[in-house]
């Protein structure tokens, strides 16, 4: 038997979360949602996850802040984290990588690319 991949999506936009949720659940992933970095950390404190997908611009704690906290902790330190970005410039990618992101998803995403990116990093 296979256990489905658990994904935490972090975005302050409810429509973006809904889109991600729709795309991921229809491809057999298990999806949890958080609306900013702080909510994501609270969720991660008591849940297990395989992949985190996070937006960058969010109130309270942004995507980079979230990655920093996750990488600095112990429990989810080695979890793959994908960032959602509207830009695909090298500068952006390098910055995401430097900040500790495993990879990125360029918005607007199509479902195929999204799923491929998740599969690429899911251990």
């Amino acid at each position: 038997m296979t256990i489905s991949t658990r994904i935490l999506t972090v975005d302050d936009s409810a429509s973006m979360r809904a889109l991600l949720n729709h795309a991921l659940t229809s491809n057999g992933f298990e999806v949890a949602q958080a609306d900013d970095g702080v909510a994501a950390l609270e969720w991660l404190a008591v849940n297990e996850v395989d992949v985190v997908i996070t937006d960058i611009n969010m109130p309270r704690l942004d995507g980079f802040g979230l990655i920093e906290q996750v990488r600095g902790g112990t429990r989810h330190r080695d979890r793959p984290i994908l960032v959602l970005t509207t830009e695909s410039s090298d500068e952006k990618k390098n910055r995401a990588r430097r900040a500790g992101a495993t990879g990125w998803i360029v918005k607007p995403f199509d479902t195929e690319k999204l799923v491929a990116a998740v599969r690429r990093v899911a251990h």
Binding site: N57, P59, F64, R97, V121
Partner: protein
């Protein structure tokens, strides 16, 4: 959730984002230009852009891109936030709001060309020092760099070396591609992860597996660098692999696999059988490679730009999708000050579920009243328990109502935009003061408040506030002030719209009303009555019909809208000092105030919003008109008397005005009338039940409600009843 539903969420978010951006810019305007505030504005626009892209609103996306880019520069401090720029940003926000409207409701997109040019100019003006770089469109056409004179032709000064390499590599690629196209053959990819390859949760093994999925197979594993066991560091990369790929496998697909890992893994693609070492030598990860080797090999710089699907306009190099890395605070202060950060913890509920809850609470209120009455009838006194139940019921009712309640700021926040529009059409600049914007009221009321409020504001600026010249002549500040305020008062909400203009010109209003035949020339009216004439249907005082107020909607419609909400509107005007419109509205539409009256054996409810006064006529107050009609003399004016018994076909009850009580009501379509009832029983709140959904529409009846004793009482549709019961000529005679 269907894609359409998700799209609806997006539009709701757009509204929130627009309001947040508006509030943020307003804060900037009043001097609060801290990072949080500016970032809040940026984030709002950024979030609209993200959604626009996701839902395929191309024009909206393109426009927000320019807007966002400018905001990003403001945030980074490369563009100064001057008053002029705030003005530009506010105008840009207005157009953004129009764009969102177009995306939502269709139609042609607003003309944004001039604004885009202005925004780009604002940006370029500040960034002119770095201008040459901005010419370079990222991700647009990397191939276009192939050039005969690579170094001389371009002015990319500092990175001449990279450029040289790129063009050479492009040349190499084309050389390499040709034979491949002619006779398809397999090719090799060499993979060598470095020390950092396991960082950030990356797992190179997964990437190798993906190569296998593309049809590749591992032909060689280079173990030459593996140290002795005592020097072995598991976080280092010691192995290199060579995969043989089939001809049909695409180079781009392989590149994409290694896109994420960046410079932490060297990838080299070459002809089948090329020694790995030779290729890797050519592309050490960090230092720029020397002019490419003669070998027919394509070196793939790990983070080579790939074309993006979104054809984005030129992006300056400084924009960034996130604040400086230093900023993220683990626990941001709960009150970060910026208006846009008020996201909070919330859930979205379908409105229907909420309405059901409100409905049930209404039933609970009734059930509780019934219980009280029944126990009372049975002589059981359970005062304490009943008081407890009553308190709990009231608390539940209030909490349920508060779920539907929203701060009035969602309506008030649109006002600055209206004033800006008005400033450009009328030339009158008006300062806005807002008081009590956090006052909460029912969502439905808020939704239906927008239109009358907009009209009142237009009216205030157009008719109330004088032109700058007139104001100076009158010794006033050339800039007018409009004060909006909202407050709760005894279970209702009071909204006032006050201007500091000239006040109502009563002589002109009266003259106009006489001219229009609204009042008789000899009528003696108090100042207050004259003021209220502006609400008469068909009244308009504008000497020239302007595009602002004279768009066919009169103040009578405003009054009707307010009345439909169960509210009232009043005017206070002082010549030379200004006019204040005061709206009194119920906090909710689900529960209204009503007068419980008896007509024969029927109990009826007359909505209090219509009731002006009730009286027992003295002898001589009522004059007969013909055989069956009566007119009531109210302080010198005659209004028709309408017997509810007759109107509703009840078979008993007072037939002549002297036997009963007259309730003077005000109606929109038919003016004032006096309703004849037997007596008034009570005045209390009632829950409206629609007759149309439970039975069918009945003329003259607005709905039904359940009384404390369990009986059903009909709610009188005062407007409809008076309009259909009184012949037109009779009303005019009045």
């Amino acid at each position: 959730m269907t894609p359409e539903e998700i799209q609806q969420i997006f539009f709701v978010e757009c509204e929130e984002s627009l309001a947040a951006a508006e509030a943020g810019l307003a804060a900037c305007q009043s001097g609060t230009q801290d990072g949080d505030t500016i970032n809040g504005v940026f984030r709002a626009v950024h979030s609209i852009k993200g959604g626009a892209g996701a839902f395929g609103f191309i024009e909206l996306q393109a426009y927000t891109h320019t807007f966002e880019t400018l905001l990003s520069d403001v945030r980074e401090g490369t563009v100064d936030l001057t008053d002029d720029l705030i003005g530009l940003l506010l105008r840009a926000l207005d157009t953004l709001s129009d764009h969102v409207m177009t995306a939502r409701e269709g139609g042609s997109a607003p003309d944004d060309a001039a604004l885009i040019v202005e925004m780009q100019a604002a940006q370029a003006g500040a960034a002119s020092a770095a201008a040459p770089e901005a010419e370079e469109a990222p991700a647009a056409a990397p191939v276009a760099k192939v050039d005969d004179t690579p170094l001389a032709a371009q002015d990319s000064g500092d990175d001449g070396l990279d450029f040289d390499l790129d063009s050479l590599l492009d040349d190499l690629t084309s050389d390499f591609d040709q034979p491949k196209a002619a006779e398809p053959q397999g090719w090799d990819v060499h993979v060598r992860p470095h020390a950092g390859a396991m960082r950030n949760g990356s797992e190179p093994l997964l990437m190798l597996r993906e190569l296998v999925e593309l049809g590749g197979h591992c032909t060689h594993c280079d173990v030459g660098s593996v140290p002795s066991l005592d020097q072995f560091d598991p976080s280092q990369g010691y192995l290199g692999w060579t995969f043989s790929m089939p001809a049909e496998a695409e180079v781009d697909a392989v590149r994409e696999i290694f896109d994420f890992i960046g410079s932490d893994c060297t990838i080299a693609i070459g002809e089948e059988g090329m020694p790995a070492a030779e290729i890797e030598q050519a592309q050490a990860p960090t230092p720029p490679a020397p002019p490419a080797p003669a070998a027919p090999t394509e070196a793939v710089e790990p983070a080579k730009p790939t074309a993006t699907p979104a054809a984005a306009p030129a992006t300056p190099p400084s924009e960034a999708a996130a604040p400086a890395p230093a900023t993220p605070a683990p626990a941001a202060a709960p009150n970060s000050g910026s208006a846009a950060s008020a996201a909070g913890q919330s859930i979205r509920i379908e409105l229907l579920k909420l309405d059901r809850l409100i409905d049930l609470v209404g039933e609970l209120v009734i059930a509780q009243a019934m219980l009280v009455q029944r126990l009372d009838g049975a002589g059981i006194t359970a005062t304490e328990e009943l008081a407890l139940l009553e308190n709990l019921t009231r608390d539940i009712q209030e909490s349920a109502m508060s779920i539907r309640a929203q701060p009035i700021s969602s309506v008030f926040s649109r006002v600055p935009r209206i004033l800006r529009d008005l400033a450009s059409t009328t030339g009158k600049h008006v300062k806005l003061d807002v008081i009590g914007e956090s006052t909460e009221l029912d969502k439905t009321v808020i939704e239906r408040l927008g239109e009358p409020l907009t009209h009142l504001i237009r009216n205030a600026v157009d008719h109330g506030i004088e032109s700058a010249e007139d104001r100076i002549a009158a010794g006033k500040n050339p800039e007018g002030t409009l004060t909006l305020s909202a407050e709760h008062r005894s279970g209702r909400i009071l909204i006032s719209i006050a201007d500091d203009g000239a006040g109502i010109n009563r002589e002109r209003v009266l003259a106009k009303a006489i001219e229009k035949g609204i009042v008789a020339p000899e009528a003696q009216l108090s100042a207050e009555e004259i003021d209220h004439l502006i609400f008469a249907p068909g009244f308009s005082t504008a000497q020239t019909i302007s595009s602002v107020s004279g768009r066919g909607v009169g103040m009578d419609v405003v009054r009707q809208n307010v009345k439909d909400l169960g509210g009232r509107i009043m005017i206070e005007s002082k010549p030379g000092e200004g006019t204040t419109f005061v709206l009194t509205l119920p906090l909710t539409l689900a529960i209204s105030d009503g007068m419980i009256v008896n007509v024969g054996d029927q109990t009826l409810v007359v909505p209090l919003a219509h009731v002006l006064e009730s009286l027992r006529p003295a002898e001589g107050d009522v004059k007969a008109l013909g055989s069956s009609r009566h007119m009531l003399n109210v302080r010198g004016r005659y209004i028709p008397v309408l017997s509810l018994r007759e109107a509703l076909g009840a078979n008993s009850g007072a037939t002549s005005p002297e036997e009963g009580v007259l309730i003077v009501v005000d109606t929109e379509s038919a003016g004032q009338a006096a309703l004849l009832v037997d007596d008034i029983q009570d005045q209390r709140q009632f829950v409206i039940k629609s007759l149309a959904t439970n039975y069918r529409t009945v003329e003259g009846v607005a709905g039904a409600t359940i009384l404390g004793d369990g009986r059903v009482a009909l709610i009188v549709d005062v407007d409809g009843l008076v309009a259909c019961a009184l012949p037109t000529q009779e009303r005019q005679a009045a």
